[in-house]
Subunit: 210 residues, 2 copies
DNA sequence: TATTCTCTCCATCATTTGATGGAAGCAAAC
DNA sequence: GTTTGCTTCCATCAAATGATGGAGAGAATA
Protein backbone atom coordinates (compact mmCIF):
# COMPACT_ATOMS: atom_id res chain seq x y z
CA UNK A 1 0.00 0.00 0.00
CA UNK A 2 3.13 2.17 -0.05
CA UNK A 3 3.26 4.84 -2.72
CA UNK A 4 6.15 4.59 -5.20
CA UNK A 5 7.73 7.53 -3.43
CA UNK A 6 7.55 5.99 0.03
CA UNK A 7 8.90 2.77 -1.37
CA UNK A 8 11.78 4.58 -3.04
CA UNK A 9 12.52 6.37 0.20
CA UNK A 10 12.91 3.12 2.08
CA UNK A 11 14.91 1.17 -0.50
CA UNK A 12 18.54 2.13 0.23
CA UNK A 13 19.43 1.30 -3.37
CA UNK A 14 16.94 3.78 -4.76
CA UNK A 15 18.26 6.95 -6.29
CA UNK A 16 16.42 9.08 -3.80
CA UNK A 17 17.93 7.22 -0.86
CA UNK A 18 21.40 7.24 -2.39
CA UNK A 19 21.21 10.99 -2.80
CA UNK A 20 20.09 11.39 0.80
CA UNK A 21 22.98 9.27 2.06
CA UNK A 22 25.50 11.22 0.01
CA UNK A 23 24.00 14.52 1.12
CA UNK A 24 24.33 13.36 4.70
CA UNK A 25 28.04 12.75 4.29
CA UNK A 26 28.84 15.93 2.39
CA UNK A 27 26.69 18.25 4.51
CA UNK A 28 28.35 16.65 7.52
CA UNK A 29 31.83 17.40 6.26
CA UNK A 30 31.36 20.88 4.85
CA UNK A 31 28.22 22.23 6.48
CA UNK A 32 25.24 23.71 4.67
CA UNK A 33 26.95 26.57 2.87
CA UNK A 34 30.16 24.65 2.32
CA UNK A 35 28.25 22.02 0.42
CA UNK A 36 27.12 22.56 -3.18
CA UNK A 37 24.45 20.52 -4.87
CA UNK A 38 27.08 19.69 -7.47
CA UNK A 39 29.31 18.10 -4.82
CA UNK A 40 26.48 15.85 -3.71
CA UNK A 41 25.51 14.96 -7.29
CA UNK A 42 29.11 14.11 -8.10
CA UNK A 43 29.39 11.90 -5.01
CA UNK A 44 26.40 9.92 -6.29
CA UNK A 45 27.58 10.10 -9.88
CA UNK A 46 24.52 11.84 -11.27
CA UNK A 47 23.51 15.17 -12.74
CA UNK A 48 22.33 17.94 -10.42
CA UNK A 49 18.97 18.07 -12.14
CA UNK A 50 18.35 14.51 -11.00
CA UNK A 51 19.06 15.64 -7.47
CA UNK A 52 16.65 18.55 -7.74
CA UNK A 53 14.08 16.27 -9.34
CA UNK A 54 14.02 14.02 -6.28
CA UNK A 55 14.49 16.50 -3.46
CA UNK A 56 13.51 19.95 -4.67
CA UNK A 57 15.70 22.77 -3.48
CA UNK A 58 18.90 22.48 -1.48
CA UNK A 59 17.29 23.54 1.77
CA UNK A 60 14.65 20.82 1.46
CA UNK A 61 17.33 18.19 1.04
CA UNK A 62 19.20 19.54 4.05
CA UNK A 63 16.06 19.39 6.16
CA UNK A 64 15.45 15.84 4.98
CA UNK A 65 18.96 14.95 6.11
CA UNK A 66 18.31 16.39 9.56
CA UNK A 67 15.04 14.54 9.90
CA UNK A 68 16.60 11.30 8.73
CA UNK A 69 19.49 11.57 11.15
CA UNK A 70 17.15 12.45 13.98
CA UNK A 71 14.99 9.44 13.32
CA UNK A 72 17.98 7.12 13.30
CA UNK A 73 19.42 8.67 16.44
CA UNK A 74 16.09 8.45 18.24
CA UNK A 75 15.85 4.74 17.48
CA UNK A 76 19.40 4.17 18.69
CA UNK A 77 18.65 5.91 21.96
CA UNK A 78 15.63 3.69 22.49
CA UNK A 79 17.77 0.61 21.86
CA UNK A 80 20.40 1.73 24.34
CA UNK A 81 17.79 2.61 26.93
CA UNK A 82 16.49 -0.96 26.74
CA UNK A 83 19.95 -2.40 27.33
CA UNK A 84 20.87 -0.25 30.31
CA UNK A 85 17.47 -0.14 31.98
CA UNK A 86 17.66 -1.08 35.65
CA UNK A 87 21.45 -1.13 35.97
CA UNK A 88 23.28 1.07 38.50
CA UNK A 89 24.02 4.60 37.28
CA UNK A 90 27.76 4.10 36.76
CA UNK A 91 27.26 1.06 34.58
CA UNK A 92 24.39 2.69 32.74
CA UNK A 93 26.60 5.58 31.79
CA UNK A 94 29.58 3.42 30.90
CA UNK A 95 27.54 1.27 28.55
CA UNK A 96 25.73 4.23 27.06
CA UNK A 97 28.99 6.07 26.40
CA UNK A 98 30.62 3.00 24.85
CA UNK A 99 27.63 2.21 22.68
CA UNK A 100 26.90 5.73 21.53
CA UNK A 101 30.56 6.42 20.84
CA UNK A 102 30.78 3.37 18.60
CA UNK A 103 27.58 4.40 16.89
CA UNK A 104 28.76 7.94 16.17
CA UNK A 105 32.21 6.82 15.04
CA UNK A 106 30.48 4.53 12.56
CA UNK A 107 28.32 7.41 11.33
CA UNK A 108 30.30 10.58 12.01
CA UNK A 109 27.96 12.61 9.80
CA UNK A 110 25.47 12.44 12.64
CA UNK A 111 27.77 14.10 15.14
CA UNK A 112 28.90 16.57 12.51
CA UNK A 113 25.42 17.67 11.55
CA UNK A 114 24.22 17.85 15.14
CA UNK A 115 27.10 20.14 16.03
CA UNK A 116 26.64 22.23 12.89
CA UNK A 117 23.05 22.82 13.89
CA UNK A 118 24.10 23.90 17.34
CA UNK A 119 26.82 26.35 16.44
CA UNK A 120 26.25 27.64 12.91
CA UNK A 121 23.70 30.08 11.63
CA UNK A 122 22.38 29.56 8.14
CA UNK A 123 21.62 32.35 5.69
CA UNK A 124 18.72 30.42 4.27
CA UNK A 125 16.42 30.02 7.21
CA UNK A 126 16.36 26.37 8.12
CA UNK A 127 13.77 26.23 10.85
CA UNK A 128 12.58 22.78 11.49
CA UNK A 129 10.49 21.12 14.15
CA UNK A 130 12.56 18.15 15.19
CA UNK A 131 11.85 15.95 18.19
CA UNK A 132 14.28 16.77 20.96
CA UNK A 133 15.75 13.88 22.92
CA UNK A 134 17.57 15.72 25.66
CA UNK A 135 14.69 15.61 28.10
CA UNK A 136 14.12 11.89 27.48
CA UNK A 137 17.77 11.12 28.11
CA UNK A 138 17.62 13.12 31.33
CA UNK A 139 14.81 10.90 32.54
CA UNK A 140 16.47 7.73 31.34
CA UNK A 141 19.59 8.70 33.27
CA UNK A 142 17.54 9.37 36.38
CA UNK A 143 18.43 13.06 36.48
CA UNK A 144 14.79 14.01 36.96
CA UNK A 145 11.47 12.36 37.60
CA UNK A 146 9.42 15.07 35.98
CA UNK A 147 7.71 14.85 32.61
CA UNK A 148 9.79 15.75 29.53
CA UNK A 149 8.09 19.12 29.30
CA UNK A 150 9.13 20.10 32.79
CA UNK A 151 12.70 18.88 32.87
CA UNK A 152 14.81 21.24 35.01
CA UNK A 153 17.35 23.34 33.08
CA UNK A 154 20.18 21.94 35.13
CA UNK A 155 19.33 18.35 34.14
CA UNK A 156 19.04 19.39 30.49
CA UNK A 157 22.44 21.02 30.50
CA UNK A 158 24.01 17.99 32.18
CA UNK A 159 22.73 15.78 29.37
CA UNK A 160 23.92 18.21 26.74
CA UNK A 161 27.36 18.30 28.34
CA UNK A 162 27.60 14.53 28.08
CA UNK A 163 26.21 14.19 24.55
CA UNK A 164 28.29 17.02 23.16
CA UNK A 165 31.46 15.71 24.77
CA UNK A 166 30.98 12.60 22.67
CA UNK A 167 30.13 14.50 19.49
CA UNK A 168 33.23 16.65 19.81
CA UNK A 169 35.67 13.77 19.75
CA UNK A 170 33.98 12.22 16.72
CA UNK A 171 33.63 15.42 14.72
CA UNK A 172 37.02 16.65 15.75
CA UNK A 173 38.83 13.45 14.87
CA UNK A 174 40.51 14.96 11.82
CA UNK A 175 41.86 17.73 14.00
CA UNK A 176 42.56 15.93 17.29
CA UNK A 177 43.95 12.63 16.10
CA UNK A 178 47.03 14.18 14.44
CA UNK A 179 47.51 16.17 17.66
CA UNK A 180 47.71 13.05 19.80
CA UNK A 181 49.31 11.02 17.03
CA UNK A 182 47.26 7.85 17.39
CA UNK A 183 45.96 5.33 14.88
CA UNK A 184 42.22 5.31 14.44
CA UNK A 185 41.52 2.27 16.62
CA UNK A 186 43.75 3.55 19.38
CA UNK A 187 42.10 6.97 19.15
CA UNK A 188 38.63 5.49 19.54
CA UNK A 189 39.73 3.43 22.51
CA UNK A 190 41.37 6.38 24.25
CA UNK A 191 38.38 8.62 23.55
CA UNK A 192 36.08 6.12 25.25
CA UNK A 193 38.36 5.84 28.26
CA UNK A 194 38.65 9.59 28.54
CA UNK A 195 34.93 10.17 28.23
CA UNK A 196 34.13 7.61 30.88
CA UNK A 197 36.83 8.93 33.16
CA UNK A 198 35.72 12.56 32.87
CA UNK A 199 31.94 12.19 32.76
CA UNK A 200 30.93 9.40 35.12
CA UNK A 201 32.37 10.23 38.58
CA UNK A 202 30.38 13.44 39.06
CA UNK A 203 27.05 11.71 38.60
CA UNK A 204 27.93 8.62 40.62
CA UNK A 205 29.27 10.74 43.47
CA UNK A 206 26.13 12.83 43.61
CA UNK A 207 23.94 9.76 43.64
CA UNK A 208 25.93 8.36 46.55
CA UNK A 209 25.32 11.51 48.55
CA UNK A 210 21.57 11.12 48.46
CA UNK B 1 59.60 52.44 14.20
CA UNK B 2 56.30 50.72 13.39
CA UNK B 3 55.26 50.75 9.75
CA UNK B 4 51.94 52.45 9.01
CA UNK B 5 50.47 49.03 8.41
CA UNK B 6 51.57 47.62 11.75
CA UNK B 7 50.32 50.73 13.46
CA UNK B 8 46.97 50.43 11.74
CA UNK B 9 46.74 46.81 12.75
CA UNK B 10 47.07 47.71 16.41
CA UNK B 11 44.76 50.71 16.51
CA UNK B 12 41.32 49.21 17.13
CA UNK B 13 39.72 52.23 15.47
CA UNK B 14 41.64 51.72 12.24
CA UNK B 15 39.74 50.46 9.25
CA UNK B 16 41.90 47.36 9.05
CA UNK B 17 41.20 46.47 12.67
CA UNK B 18 37.50 47.22 12.34
CA UNK B 19 37.27 44.87 9.38
CA UNK B 20 39.09 42.16 11.31
CA UNK B 21 36.73 42.52 14.26
CA UNK B 22 33.66 42.37 12.02
CA UNK B 23 35.07 39.39 10.14
CA UNK B 24 35.61 37.67 13.46
CA UNK B 25 31.95 38.05 14.39
CA UNK B 26 30.50 37.08 11.01
CA UNK B 27 32.84 34.15 10.39
CA UNK B 28 31.99 33.01 13.90
CA UNK B 29 28.27 33.08 13.23
CA UNK B 30 28.14 31.66 9.74
CA UNK B 31 31.41 29.81 9.26
CA UNK B 32 33.81 30.32 6.36
CA UNK B 33 31.52 29.39 3.49
CA UNK B 34 28.44 30.85 5.12
CA UNK B 35 30.13 34.22 5.27
CA UNK B 36 30.43 36.45 2.22
CA UNK B 37 32.86 39.33 1.92
CA UNK B 38 29.81 41.52 1.31
CA UNK B 39 28.35 40.56 4.68
CA UNK B 40 31.53 41.63 6.44
CA UNK B 41 31.79 44.83 4.43
CA UNK B 42 28.19 45.68 5.24
CA UNK B 43 28.77 45.05 8.93
CA UNK B 44 31.58 47.61 8.85
CA UNK B 45 29.65 49.89 6.53
CA UNK B 46 32.19 49.93 3.72
CA UNK B 47 32.60 48.70 0.15
CA UNK B 48 33.98 45.22 -0.46
CA UNK B 49 36.90 46.64 -2.40
CA UNK B 50 38.04 48.41 0.74
CA UNK B 51 37.98 45.08 2.48
CA UNK B 52 40.03 43.43 -0.25
CA UNK B 53 42.40 46.41 -0.26
CA UNK B 54 43.27 45.81 3.40
CA UNK B 55 43.20 42.06 3.66
CA UNK B 56 43.59 40.53 0.19
CA UNK B 57 41.48 37.51 -0.53
CA UNK B 58 38.78 36.04 1.72
CA UNK B 59 40.96 33.14 2.82
CA UNK B 60 43.69 35.52 3.98
CA UNK B 61 41.22 37.44 6.10
CA UNK B 62 39.93 34.22 7.60
CA UNK B 63 43.43 33.11 8.48
CA UNK B 64 44.09 36.49 10.04
CA UNK B 65 40.99 36.03 12.18
CA UNK B 66 42.21 32.66 13.38
CA UNK B 67 45.65 34.00 14.23
CA UNK B 68 44.16 36.98 16.03
CA UNK B 69 41.83 34.83 18.09
CA UNK B 70 44.61 32.44 18.92
CA UNK B 71 46.85 35.21 20.13
CA UNK B 72 44.13 36.61 22.36
CA UNK B 73 43.24 33.19 23.73
CA UNK B 74 46.89 32.38 24.41
CA UNK B 75 47.29 35.56 26.44
CA UNK B 76 44.12 34.81 28.41
CA UNK B 77 45.39 31.34 29.27
CA UNK B 78 48.63 32.80 30.55
CA UNK B 79 46.69 35.24 32.72
CA UNK B 80 44.54 32.49 34.18
CA UNK B 81 47.53 30.26 34.77
CA UNK B 82 49.08 33.03 36.88
CA UNK B 83 45.96 33.35 39.02
CA UNK B 84 45.49 29.68 39.73
CA UNK B 85 49.14 28.71 40.09
CA UNK B 86 49.79 26.80 43.29
CA UNK B 87 46.17 26.30 44.33
CA UNK B 88 44.70 22.82 44.91
CA UNK B 89 43.42 21.10 41.77
CA UNK B 90 39.72 21.49 42.54
CA UNK B 91 40.01 25.22 43.07
CA UNK B 92 42.30 25.59 40.08
CA UNK B 93 39.69 24.02 37.86
CA UNK B 94 36.79 25.92 39.38
CA UNK B 95 38.48 29.27 38.87
CA UNK B 96 39.69 28.36 35.41
CA UNK B 97 36.21 27.24 34.34
CA UNK B 98 34.56 30.36 35.76
CA UNK B 99 37.09 32.70 34.22
CA UNK B 100 37.26 31.07 30.82
CA UNK B 101 33.48 30.76 30.61
CA UNK B 102 33.07 34.48 31.28
CA UNK B 103 35.75 35.21 28.72
CA UNK B 104 34.14 33.09 25.99
CA UNK B 105 30.64 34.39 26.73
CA UNK B 106 32.02 37.90 26.29
CA UNK B 107 33.62 36.91 22.99
CA UNK B 108 31.56 34.01 21.64
CA UNK B 109 33.20 34.32 18.22
CA UNK B 110 36.23 32.67 19.75
CA UNK B 111 34.36 29.54 20.77
CA UNK B 112 32.52 29.54 17.47
CA UNK B 113 35.59 29.73 15.33
CA UNK B 114 37.50 27.19 17.40
CA UNK B 115 34.67 24.69 16.99
CA UNK B 116 34.30 25.46 13.30
CA UNK B 117 37.94 24.65 12.81
CA UNK B 118 37.55 21.36 14.63
CA UNK B 119 34.50 20.05 12.85
CA UNK B 120 34.20 21.66 9.41
CA UNK B 121 36.20 21.03 6.30
CA UNK B 122 36.81 23.97 4.01
CA UNK B 123 36.78 23.77 0.24
CA UNK B 124 39.47 26.38 -0.01
CA UNK B 125 42.36 24.81 1.80
CA UNK B 126 42.91 26.74 4.97
CA UNK B 127 46.03 25.16 6.39
CA UNK B 128 47.61 27.25 9.00
CA UNK B 129 50.35 26.72 11.54
CA UNK B 130 48.83 27.93 14.79
CA UNK B 131 50.36 27.44 18.22
CA UNK B 132 48.49 24.72 20.06
CA UNK B 133 47.73 25.28 23.73
CA UNK B 134 46.36 21.89 24.69
CA UNK B 135 49.69 20.51 25.84
CA UNK B 136 50.43 23.61 27.90
CA UNK B 137 47.08 23.42 29.64
CA UNK B 138 47.70 19.77 30.40
CA UNK B 139 50.90 20.72 32.19
CA UNK B 140 49.31 23.66 33.95
CA UNK B 141 46.58 21.37 35.23
CA UNK B 142 49.15 18.89 36.47
CA UNK B 143 48.00 16.14 34.13
CA UNK B 144 51.54 15.43 33.05
CA UNK B 145 55.05 16.45 33.94
CA UNK B 146 56.49 15.82 30.51
CA UNK B 147 57.50 18.47 28.02
CA UNK B 148 54.77 19.83 25.71
CA UNK B 149 56.07 17.75 22.84
CA UNK B 150 55.68 14.52 24.75
CA UNK B 151 52.31 15.03 26.40
CA UNK B 152 50.50 11.67 26.67
CA UNK B 153 47.44 11.32 24.40
CA UNK B 154 45.23 10.65 27.37
CA UNK B 155 46.16 13.95 29.03
CA UNK B 156 45.61 15.80 25.76
CA UNK B 157 42.13 14.35 25.32
CA UNK B 158 41.23 15.19 28.90
CA UNK B 159 42.10 18.82 28.28
CA UNK B 160 40.17 18.84 25.02
CA UNK B 161 37.14 17.36 26.76
CA UNK B 162 37.18 20.19 29.28
CA UNK B 163 37.83 23.01 26.82
CA UNK B 164 35.25 21.79 24.32
CA UNK B 165 32.64 21.34 27.01
CA UNK B 166 32.93 25.06 27.64
CA UNK B 167 32.94 26.00 23.95
CA UNK B 168 29.79 23.97 23.32
CA UNK B 169 27.65 25.88 25.77
CA UNK B 170 28.80 29.23 24.45
CA UNK B 171 28.47 28.39 20.76
CA UNK B 172 25.26 26.50 21.31
CA UNK B 173 23.57 29.24 23.31
CA UNK B 174 21.19 30.16 20.51
CA UNK B 175 20.09 26.55 20.37
CA UNK B 176 20.24 25.46 24.01
CA UNK B 177 18.92 28.53 25.79
CA UNK B 178 15.44 28.31 24.22
CA UNK B 179 15.48 24.60 25.12
CA UNK B 180 15.98 25.31 28.81
CA UNK B 181 14.03 28.54 28.65
CA UNK B 182 16.39 30.71 30.69
CA UNK B 183 17.34 34.38 30.47
CA UNK B 184 20.89 35.02 29.43
CA UNK B 185 22.30 35.72 32.90
CA UNK B 186 20.58 32.69 34.33
CA UNK B 187 21.84 30.56 31.46
CA UNK B 188 25.43 31.63 32.02
CA UNK B 189 25.16 30.93 35.73
CA UNK B 190 23.65 27.48 35.19
CA UNK B 191 26.23 26.64 32.53
CA UNK B 192 29.04 27.43 34.97
CA UNK B 193 27.47 25.31 37.70
CA UNK B 194 26.92 22.44 35.32
CA UNK B 195 30.44 22.56 33.94
CA UNK B 196 32.00 22.60 37.38
CA UNK B 197 29.72 19.83 38.56
CA UNK B 198 30.44 17.55 35.61
CA UNK B 199 34.11 18.23 35.01
CA UNK B 200 35.82 18.63 38.36
CA UNK B 201 35.07 15.50 40.43
CA UNK B 202 36.82 13.06 38.11
CA UNK B 203 40.11 14.89 38.31
CA UNK B 204 39.95 15.59 42.04
CA UNK B 205 39.05 11.99 42.77
CA UNK B 206 41.96 10.68 40.73
CA UNK B 207 44.36 13.01 42.48
CA UNK B 208 43.15 11.79 45.85
CA UNK B 209 43.90 8.20 44.86
CA UNK B 210 47.56 8.86 44.30
C1' DT C 1 51.40 75.26 -5.14
C1' DA C 2 52.49 71.00 -6.98
C1' DT C 3 53.35 66.20 -6.03
C1' DT C 4 52.94 62.05 -3.87
C1' DC C 5 50.79 58.68 -1.06
C1' DT C 6 46.97 56.41 1.25
C1' DC C 7 42.53 55.17 1.32
C1' DT C 8 37.75 54.62 -0.37
C1' DC C 9 34.15 53.81 -3.62
C1' DC C 10 31.87 52.84 -8.22
C1' DA C 11 31.62 50.01 -12.07
C1' DT C 12 32.61 45.85 -13.81
C1' DC C 13 34.24 40.94 -14.56
C1' DA C 14 34.60 35.91 -14.39
C1' DT C 15 33.26 32.13 -11.87
C1' DT C 16 30.38 29.57 -9.01
C1' DT C 17 26.08 28.08 -7.68
C1' DG C 18 21.08 27.01 -7.24
C1' DA C 19 17.66 25.96 -10.21
C1' DT C 20 14.73 24.80 -14.52
C1' DG C 21 12.89 23.35 -19.30
C1' DG C 22 12.86 20.11 -22.47
C1' DA C 23 14.53 16.13 -24.97
C1' DA C 24 15.71 11.33 -24.65
C1' DG C 25 15.67 6.75 -22.57
C1' DC C 26 13.03 3.12 -20.82
C1' DA C 27 9.83 0.12 -18.71
C1' DA C 28 4.99 -0.82 -17.67
C1' DA C 29 0.21 -0.47 -19.17
C1' DC C 30 -2.94 -0.40 -22.74
C1' DG D 1 2.73 -1.27 -31.44
C1' DT D 2 1.40 2.63 -29.13
C1' DT D 3 0.75 5.22 -25.24
C1' DT D 4 1.77 6.62 -20.72
C1' DG D 5 4.48 7.78 -16.82
C1' DC D 6 8.76 7.92 -14.50
C1' DT D 7 13.62 8.96 -14.53
C1' DT D 8 17.85 10.92 -16.23
C1' DC D 9 20.77 14.13 -18.59
C1' DC D 10 22.16 18.24 -21.51
C1' DA D 11 21.86 23.00 -22.15
C1' DT D 12 20.96 27.01 -20.16
C1' DC D 13 19.61 30.79 -16.96
C1' DA D 14 19.69 34.25 -13.24
C1' DA D 15 21.59 35.45 -9.07
C1' DA D 16 25.27 35.47 -5.90
C1' DT D 17 29.98 35.85 -5.03
C1' DG D 18 35.06 36.72 -5.01
C1' DA D 19 37.88 39.83 -6.98
C1' DT D 20 39.99 43.95 -9.65
C1' DG D 21 40.93 48.47 -12.21
C1' DG D 22 40.63 52.97 -12.05
C1' DA D 23 38.88 57.40 -10.60
C1' DG D 24 38.55 60.55 -6.99
C1' DA D 25 39.00 62.47 -2.16
C1' DG D 26 42.00 63.98 1.11
C1' DA D 27 46.11 64.36 3.83
C1' DA D 28 51.05 64.58 3.95
C1' DT D 29 55.24 66.02 1.70
C1' DA D 30 58.18 68.56 -1.32
Amino acid sequence: MATPLEKAHKDPESMKARILAAACRIFGEYGFHGTTTRMIAQEVGIDISTLHYHWGEKKDLYEAVILDINKDLGQKLIDVEKIIHGLPLGERMAIAIDTMTDYFFARPEISNIMLFRYIAKTRDNVDLRVPEFTADIARSMGLTRKSPHHTPPRAMLEVLAVMNAIHNFISGENFFRPMVNLEREEYIKTVKETLKFVLIPAFVQREGEK
